[in-house]
Subunit: 340 residues, 2 copies
Amino acid sequence: MTIKEIARRAGVSVATVSYVLNGTGSVSEEVRQHVLQIVKETNYRKNILASKLRTNSSNILGVIVEDITVWTSARTIQGIGDFAEQHNKNILMTDLALNSKIGKNFHRIREYRDTINKEIDILLGSQVEGILYVSMHDRDLSHILPSFSHPFVLVGCYAEDFHCVTYDNTNIAYSIGKHFIENGHTRFGVISGPSGSRISCKRLSGFTRALAEQGFSLPPAYICSGDWEYVSARQAAFELLALPDPPTAIFAMNDLMAAGVLSAAHQLNLKIPENLEIVGFDDQQLSQYSVPPLTTVQVPLYDMGKEAAAQIYVLRESKPQRQSQFILPCRLLHRGTTRF
Amino acid sequence: MTIKEIARRAGVSVATVSYVLNGTGSVSEEVRQHVLQIVKETNYRKNILASKLRTNSSNILGVIVEDITVWTSARTIQGIGDFAEQHNKNILMTDLALNSKIGKNFHRIREYRDTINKEIDILLGSQVEGILYVSMHDRDLSHILPSFSHPFVLVGCYAEDFHCVTYDNTNIAYSIGKHFIENGHTRFGVISGPSGSRISCKRLSGFTRALAEQGFSLPPAYICSGDWEYVSARQAAFELLALPDPPTAIFAMNDLMAAGVLSAAHQLNLKIPENLEIVGFDDQQLSQYSVPPLTTVQVPLYDMGKEAAAQIYVLRESKPQRQSQFILPCRLLHRGTTRF
DNA sequence: CTGAAAGCGCTAACAC
DNA sequence: GTGTTAGCGCTTTCAG
């Protein structure tokens, strides 16, 4: 069923049908109703492809997700989706499924440069109004991404000359340090991600700044690198707690590792939070169900998605010369592994 | 940059350019190279919209997700995505975000019937080749979905007259019952979802069938209904374990509830799995990190997504008169809360 | 092997 | 108010 056929049946021109369908032009109420009638009868649905081709406006937002099963992705996409719904955009999505391909070897993304380029080509060919790149891990993607002029925004990672929206690691880590100090601690432990990791550095710097401001230090022995997994942190916690002057407060840089610390503490018969305070990061599901529930950091994933989508359209309005970086604040969720 | 402009610059006709771009027709190698050269120079990218309009083949798969943040969605979508990648399809996705709107009041989907209809209209208008409906909970969606003739497949739920792919609740529950019996148990407990729940019924029937086959019964007192959440199951577990002849094996119908049982058991100083065996369902992240890790059921989400996408295209080939139901098998993951 | 031209379904001047 | 018509960018007969 096409507009032409509707026109024929209604005994009017295609223009008239188009007018009533889009509410443009002026059509007598009588004709309008008649056309609408036929449209309903025939169950006509306009071919959006044709319409888009003609008007040269796709209303499509392209989204490339590094891996949709990674815990950050879904909520971020929901933010993008809400923006889309509110602005009548559609989402053309493609999932690289990188997690199942390279796991935590984040640097191996290099091997997928061609794939990414191809996906971008397809999206651009589909006339998307911009592309959102939802990463699975905060890292520097310069030299991976092709340079091109269409609106493109990175979500949750960084690259030179690219616009991006991420969250504020440094300040929330600062808050955690400050919180520990307020709770009266003087010896602190940190279990970070792999030492090269971008977010580990940021979090470490914020945390140590808080300590330094109050005259505390964080000796190397009090900093362990985990691999973001439970087991590594459990091991690290045993080391930390075996120190001559063991820390009384540990910042584990994700919830899984915090759970590892919790497990070690239980085994050592430490009371949580009385003998040891623990703060995690991410607010993943397990943090609510650990015993006691983990004090942790909530990452503004939804807002990041929404903001990034919005950015696509400010980029379309006016192309800023410099790259913009939106860094959204996190929130510390006080639960059972800290006293206050 | 259009095909026309390329043709002009290359000094050939648009037809020729189209031929080389699509590998159709026959073009002399010389001309071919020349055109390719110009294409590369100008960074030309074909307008897929126009191409699709002309050929009347969109290669787009429409996906409606009830809520992308629900734990089943991401992996299911990844299955769909893999099918799409392998068959050169693109995914036009829309997230209803129902979980944030109606939570676990699954029946309230009625209020969103219009929304769903609208989304379907948009997808169909976008010339998708079929629509996948990824549900967040297995339930009967008859009377919610509009009837129409385009390929449409439900994933993870059911509706009269609709094609669907789900997973096999009954048989895996049967396996669980059988496993308990093999491990020597004679008194069994079940913590189900809300009593009206479709999956609860299926799982209960499979489980009791296994018991019945070996001459065991499941008295009403040994069946509690939870609300899929931790707290409810913890409470239920206390009741179950306070029975005069308490069960020595409990089947909790999701991991969160199994974790609740675990917590109750710990508090009662029961050794797991020696004094009590527990089986959960879902294989969610927390099931790996509970102490001990939960024996649970892995749901074939990825396969469901992939199969459903494939179904769309068999429906396009030949429209079967009857609705088809694909019921994929689950897998029991033996971990720490059962002995063998 | 190459090109002219029709037309996919729709929109939007422009004319009446 | 309504109709005619020229395309949007592409594919694909059909002629040569």
